[in-house]
Point group: C3
Chain length 668, copies 3
Amino acid sequence: MTAPRTPKIPYGGDYNPEQWPEDICDDDHRLFTRAGIDTLTVGVFTWSLIQPAPDTYDFTVLDRTLDRAAAEGRQVCLATGTAALPPWLAKRHPEVNRTDFEGRRHRYGQRHNFCPSSPAYREHATALASRLAERYADHPALLAWHINNEYGGACYCELCAEAFREWLRDRHGSLDALNDAWWTTFWSHRYTDWDQIEPPNALTEHWRGPDHTAFQGITLDWFRFTTDALLGCFLAEKEVIRAHDPDTPVTTNFMGTFRPLDYHRWAPHLDFASWDNYPPLDAPPTRPALAHDLMRGLKDGAPFWLMEQTPSTTACRDVNPLRRPGELRLATFQAIAHGADAALYFQMRASRGACEKYHGAVIGHAGRDDTRVFREVAVLGRELESLGDRTLGARTPARTALLFDWDSWWALEISDGPSRLVKYVDVVHAYYRAAREAGADVDVIPQSADLAPYDVVLAPALHMIKGDLATRLEDVAARGGTVLATFLSGRVDAHDRAFLTDVPGPLARLMGIRVDEWDARPPEFTQPVPELPAEARLVFEIVLPRGAEPVATYGTDFYAGTPAVTRNPYGDGEGWYIATALDQPGVDEVVRRILARHHLLGPYADHPSVETATRVAPDGSRLLFLLNHAPEPARLTAHTTATDLLTGKRVEQGAPLVLDPLGVAILQ
Amino acid sequence: MTAPRTPKIPYGGDYNPEQWPEDICDDDHRLFTRAGIDTLTVGVFTWSLIQPAPDTYDFTVLDRTLDRAAAEGRQVCLATGTAALPPWLAKRHPEVNRTDFEGRRHRYGQRHNFCPSSPAYREHATALASRLAERYADHPALLAWHINNEYGGACYCELCAEAFREWLRDRHGSLDALNDAWWTTFWSHRYTDWDQIEPPNALTEHWRGPDHTAFQGITLDWFRFTTDALLGCFLAEKEVIRAHDPDTPVTTNFMGTFRPLDYHRWAPHLDFASWDNYPPLDAPPTRPALAHDLMRGLKDGAPFWLMEQTPSTTACRDVNPLRRPGELRLATFQAIAHGADAALYFQMRASRGACEKYHGAVIGHAGRDDTRVFREVAVLGRELESLGDRTLGARTPARTALLFDWDSWWALEISDGPSRLVKYVDVVHAYYRAAREAGADVDVIPQSADLAPYDVVLAPALHMIKGDLATRLEDVAARGGTVLATFLSGRVDAHDRAFLTDVPGPLARLMGIRVDEWDARPPEFTQPVPELPAEARLVFEIVLPRGAEPVATYGTDFYAGTPAVTRNPYGDGEGWYIATALDQPGVDEVVRRILARHHLLGPYADHPSVETATRVAPDGSRLLFLLNHAPEPARLTAHTTATDLLTGKRVEQGAPLVLDPLGVAILQ
Amino acid sequence: MTAPRTPKIPYGGDYNPEQWPEDICDDDHRLFTRAGIDTLTVGVFTWSLIQPAPDTYDFTVLDRTLDRAAAEGRQVCLATGTAALPPWLAKRHPEVNRTDFEGRRHRYGQRHNFCPSSPAYREHATALASRLAERYADHPALLAWHINNEYGGACYCELCAEAFREWLRDRHGSLDALNDAWWTTFWSHRYTDWDQIEPPNALTEHWRGPDHTAFQGITLDWFRFTTDALLGCFLAEKEVIRAHDPDTPVTTNFMGTFRPLDYHRWAPHLDFASWDNYPPLDAPPTRPALAHDLMRGLKDGAPFWLMEQTPSTTACRDVNPLRRPGELRLATFQAIAHGADAALYFQMRASRGACEKYHGAVIGHAGRDDTRVFREVAVLGRELESLGDRTLGARTPARTALLFDWDSWWALEISDGPSRLVKYVDVVHAYYRAAREAGADVDVIPQSADLAPYDVVLAPALHMIKGDLATRLEDVAARGGTVLATFLSGRVDAHDRAFLTDVPGPLARLMGIRVDEWDARPPEFTQPVPELPAEARLVFEIVLPRGAEPVATYGTDFYAGTPAVTRNPYGDGEGWYIATALDQPGVDEVVRRILARHHLLGPYADHPSVETATRVAPDGSRLLFLLNHAPEPARLTAHTTATDLLTGKRVEQGAPLVLDPLGVAILQ
């Protein structure tokens, strides 16, 4: 199953009429029409309203909302609303509240507050989902099911401990196997009964927070268990929905590069992926792009939904800057360029109270349609209408893959040594950014994915090597492709046990090197790398070439002159190893050399502020998105003759092509 | 009732002879006499000594202390000593210990450690107060009652939860009203039973500490409840004191700009205000001045007591600088200039042990009278003796008011968005400082106060607008006054719900503007404001004038040229709006323009280090305090002919008037 | 009893064959032989393996390890392995898990996880130690007993509370005495029953963590109790070992300047001292040297063992730099120069899993002997072989003593005022460094030690003065010696009560000064001291000379011109007082003046990077260690004719003597 079929990009977002007097709906729909809003996400936080008591359901507000939507010709993405407990349930079954990392049972409050192992929660949540499915499966407004909301967090209660033990028993089979996997003989931890195993937290294996654990093995398995425990909640709801509604696509909204959950474990169970895009402050545009491509990679390249973004500001951060004129449009087309087939906001109307009352909205507290933000939303709505279905279902023809692996992320960041300052996503992003800014389309894929389509495979900080991955990477090189790995790639097996071979373990043969030792230094220290326009930082592996040739070397210290970057001929291809955290210009240079070998540099690679992205529509037509992230015009020379879908204008090959500040073109 | 009537400014402070062998009292009184000490605060921490067991009272130490004081001709401010539990009470009734924000029931330790809702605490504390009142009501040394000490903190136990629910029932009447006030439909929090409501803390609605709450409404009500719960303890003690002693004035020592308690809710119940002045490190002199004026504003301008200050150093801070020669005298006269009718120290003799043993004292561990600090204390004692009653009962004839509102403080600082970096007191202080340094006397008053006496009303960061305040502010302008509001003024109602109108809500008409959106930036970013000698930071509201004229504009970004400061003619007066956090020179310029319009600039406004303050004595004589905060002499030209009460010297209008470094003059 | 007698310096370290398949032992011993490894620390974390259930012991792995060691001619330091609980014990007796500072009972995890007051732990640990002693007392490989591991931490459970109360009863005798000692009348804390006393922690007397306590007295006693409680565990194990093995020396591995435990209370109970050397990042070489000398001082100058150091990197820090070529050798000879009679590593073979898998090891994951680190270890092994017994049993002939006092450390760092920024070890280290870099051998000794052997006694930051110390210091000066004290020396008695005399209390007479007040400033403030090549910071005591003469003065502020450094003639000697935190050049200048007076400047005092240390071998031969800490050669002129034990080369007095970069010589 895929994302819902629609005649145009669904446009709209989270809508909470239940918070308002009825008459405000008239205003809302009037404004929706003015702004081209056709899709509403409904019911995300209505549990306490539609089930005010254990045996009482009252669907009035949802009936009204869906009926009105249908009457107005709008579609609804209907949430099951199980992400925030109603007060009565928390009071009646205290065990539905989570126990936190510090071992404290919470009482009622906030959202994302349910214990995933609690039978009472599971029972009540699925009962609610079932009733909703039964009632609305055939509603004319129903477009998609939205289960729960932004799954995340963890619970450390006794129920979860018991569920964890069960999960471990399934996974490891025997205590001997588990003791071996976790290397429990270290520090006298050999378990002799499953009951002895406690969830890893501040009262057991951890200190200084979630990243410092005595045993990486138990913490890693706990992260996997947590992923599966919440997935179990999702699957239970999905099952009861399917019992009443076999056809409507089901999703839940993800959060991009979100560490707590391994979305690759979830991906097979979604009908389509969707996610909420709130880029970190001052992030370069490749940061949300990485998340888009990661989300697209969940379903093997199928289009996804942009389920949330703010039309103007966030509220939850210490500092919440405003999206400047044009930024919203640019970000929206960036999402579409990377595979989004829907563009939705949080939120349609600003909440009057509570912690998101200052979060941006299409309609502000004064209910106006003459604000700058509303105007931009409405203009964009008209553009999307005129774009129609031309981007829907299109796929990205990438020949470059980047391996993204939650297990490596977790293993790297919960390890002691060599440096706590190395952050997985920072390393991954540096290589992704280099490839993207050089004009290459990139698929961000799990390590288990088929590598056949790719000329270039990037494996930055791929700390853990599982299964036959090393062989499959060798195959890429053998047939002429290029594989890149970095410092701290290839260190541990699936249980976070060091490989008992030279570093980088199973990648050593492909990389043609051996690493015996590694240095680490404070962040203010920089190591020159004379052959590159670059300096290096944080970690410095000392490489002994075993077949590989040095590409660049360290400039100082006792390992001066030893390789910082190597290239190893392998079959018809190459293995590249980057032994240190190069700064961005260094990563750029290395990646561009690799891409150049495969003719994968984009036509506008010399314009750093211009992002390009290609999608191939179901009819085979090739769409080239041009996105100017600079506040100045971008003056290009058209590399081919094409028509801009947004303006209808034709541009000739070799003719000047000017993008406005923050401007967009979709060349067909 | 007012502060005690005395023939001169009471001078002395906290005195703990119970910590010492008896013979040390002789030394103490000898030194007191030498230093002009006539007032002793006694009994603040004697509970465990005078009630060593549930049924055993032993007043020996207090008897001795008061009798000796009387014999020596000194007065006593007698504390009830209920701020620190005796160990036996904590052991016998564990529920008298507080449960903290993290949900942890404390065991015995520290001070300020009692649960305000515990019947056992209430019962024992009032019994003690009652016995004290009975015993000492007619003691010749008794000057004032000092209930408890520095009330503060909160308890989150089940007893407090129950009391909170009762308080909410009284305040909101029905759950429907409460659900509406707190906007609980957001995040599915509609309560269906009062029992479902939990105190907002780390286990319920909060994350990242006390300022981050999912529901501002519940946290705001919790702050109000906490204020009232502690006030209830105060009132219970006061009631039993009054049963035995109808006449002696009662106070408790406040802490100036202390966020946890809304002192305006307490003010009606005090006979007179008193407070402990420990300014933040490196604070400008307007910082303690703001607190003085706030304390004076509690009782409608009546004089207050300076209950504590250190003669030399604090101990509780990471770094505890020494008061340099002259600083103590200057700070003491500053207090008097702002309305203090007593000048007391913490402490008379340095503790030998425990955490305040390095806190400054009039008498140090060696018991000397030939230390610099003792000498300065003694010289000041003589000055106060010679000053006699000439400042007692005097009032400040301010025509400028600054609205100070705990609800706005709380609401602003527990809100998500636009910027966590905006601190209420910083904004308030900037405007206060501007007015004070321009020579204006300022009343710092609650928003409910009568505004009739004022030409200028400053309402910086007045986030919440309650009752008819907007109308009353309009009245000020209508009759020719000036009202100033700033960014983040006028946003929410009494329940922290956004006004469903243009920002600044009920102030929009008076300000003649409309604000649809606001930007926020990191603290290192500065926005030029070309028309002012100023830059702006943190928050930038984008103002659409609706009648107001721009006074200054933003210099950059897409909102360049839009107003940063506006002035709106209203009736015979004006409404000024400052849409951003101007730095101090910008605030100074704006405030001086407003004061100038009302001829409120002081005669020495061009001497930034010279503070002036006026008090009008009961006999109508006008006292002008001149305080030179610079370490250099201040060379002024006398604006009028007057006599300096401290030196007896006469100065002629137009003649040179020189203030010593850190010097003081009181011109009559 | 002393350290084990061996024919050469024991060389080797922690070895965990139980973590590996059996065949890896063959590789290990082959590599050990190649590297000159003759000593293995065994069994540190084997409890769960050798006692997998309450009634089941299985010594297979230890039998094998010791037998194999014996067969290979290696010695074993056998650990009792009681520092990490086996899971079954934690499950069966939950009370063996610790309750932390926050009052939370932990569940199973980590190491150092046992409650020292738990009878179940004590019983099981001693039973294990007894069985081990019974089994291996006569094993030919047994060289020493290693009880537990890196004792530390604390437990705050009810059992510990009860044990604390017992300890207090023993120490104080009566509640009156305790109330007086802790000064409980302050803040109404007079205890009337021992049961009212709670361990000081986050739920009782503390806030902002372990260093902020309302009552220093209780916290200080708690630290002493904690030291004794863990010592009790050690003694219980030692007792059962002695029952089976009266001869083999017993130790436990300390951690140098480790605040939580007063090692001076432990010292009498060790047969010999040993410690684990992991210097702070970027610490100067005097930092580990200070710890070496402190450890040597535990047993009155007797040699100690270097029980652990890393051959390459640590793993537990945020940033873990690599030991550069030569650094390991230099650090090892530094240990020997300061009195180490063994040189052991953590660890022989890198763990495959868990949190120390990236900690450096002699043998890495690949099992190679051709790594740089292995080669350096092996070269050093050969050097130690050739050195034979020539350094064994040698003692340091120091004439300079530095008083190191855990009570002062604790008292200083848990006090409020004057500055939390003063850190005891930083102050101590500054004076130690000055003396060491000037070439003086220094004994770091407890304040109770015999001072007769010393010409110079340094007492930096000796906050607490106990017993007759002041008199003994006066005796030093009286007979011509020099005593140095600093700011914050001489403030409190054994209960942390301020002396009721002039500061510096009992030291005032020897110092010839009086201090009434002290200033403190933020760290960025510096105070010039014109007479010295120095600036001062943090704390500035204002000194009134009472016999002493000023040596240097403050350059600014109201106390400009008053003394920052004084010298007081006393008998035939002098008392020096340093009233502020001089920077290192200032401390150097002062200390060198003092040393010069006693002809204690070393022959190479002008070469700051060259460390010298003297040991006198049992045969009376004098060994001068020269250690070049610079990465450049050190070009000296030999001060005497001697032979370098490492090279066998003879150097003539007055001839050039060149030390390689990081080079070492042992001149006899």
